[in-house]
Amino acid sequence: MAEGKVDPVHQFTIEPLFGTDHWSIAGHNIAFTNSALWMAITTLVLIVFVGGGAKKAQVPGRWQMAVEGLTGFVDTLLQSNIGEAGRKYLPYVFSLFTFILFANLLGLLPLALVGIHPFTATSHFTVTGVLAIMSFAIVLIVGFAKHGFHFFSLFVPHGTPAVMVPVIFPIELISFLVRPFSLGLRLFVAMMAGHVLLEVLSGFVISGTNAGVGIFFLAGLPSFLLMIGICALELLVAGIQAYVFALLTCVYLNDAENLH
């Protein structure tokens, strides 16, 4: 690696903050890492945000309105996708949506200005994969508990001609089994790609600025302006990806709840 080059994937390094490799349960290292720290911070911010707004004022203040707006948003999402039966999933989908949203946004905070390195927990497949498996497990549990083995009719869309069933069934089965991967992969790659892009551009700015005035105006400055734009885009992506994750969870839950 060339001298002074910015390594775009270094930001994703997971390092133990306290605890060592010897802290292990059944061969798995349980040292407290920066990933765990930022997930804990996300949870803490989430609890403070919701707890601070969970008042029962007749005339809600700004904070209460913000929390009510968010819960109302997730509630509408569930109602429009699942219907009245979707109400009972509100705690899960709300936690999922807000956790992903806050984790995405906290990872984008410019805290490096004061020497703290924000870590985006959702830019790791281990984290998003577990979230996706949780959603998928709930779909399976609800589906089999509610419909029993009739749940398999999910793989044969209504009105399929009998001749087509052997063809349709494997296709639908594969598309069903791929869901947890696609769900986790989408969030992880979208967050990771955005952060790599920002880091690469910051590398252009730093090397361009170091290389003299001409290169600075030719490459450094445009890269910096582009970075500002990409940062705005990343804020949008952070929101959209959290929304898409919650939305797809709702769609999958609808399959389990209502079949076709």
């Binding site: 429009s80 996708n81 992969l185 989408r186 790659v189 979208a190 959209i240 898409v244 797809l248 769609v251």
Partner: protein, 75 residues
């Protein structure tokens, strides 16, 4: 051609997939806007479907990014 340069070339070729997915994502939003401007009253109710389409189109582009990353760092 040695293996390392073949990997990097493959990763570069994978970027074509990201460009093609951008066509798909653009198409999703373009068609949505087209329909939404014809019938603005029904547009708000279809935003969920818009984002499902967006997510499906985007995923395939993100897969090409995964392929590139695997070629550079894993393979």
């Amino acid at each position: 051609m040695d293996a390392q340069s073949a990997k990097l070339l493959g990763a570069g070729l994978a970027a074509i997939g990201a460009g093609l997915a951008s066509l798909g994502v653009g198409n999703v939003f373009a068609k949505f806007l087209e329909g939404a401007l014809r019938n603005p009253g029904a547009a708000d109710g279809q935003q969920g479907r818009l984002f499902i389409g967006f997510a499906a189109a985007e995923l395939l582009g993100l897969l090409s990014f995964v392929v590139a990353m695997i070629l550079i760092f894993v393979a």
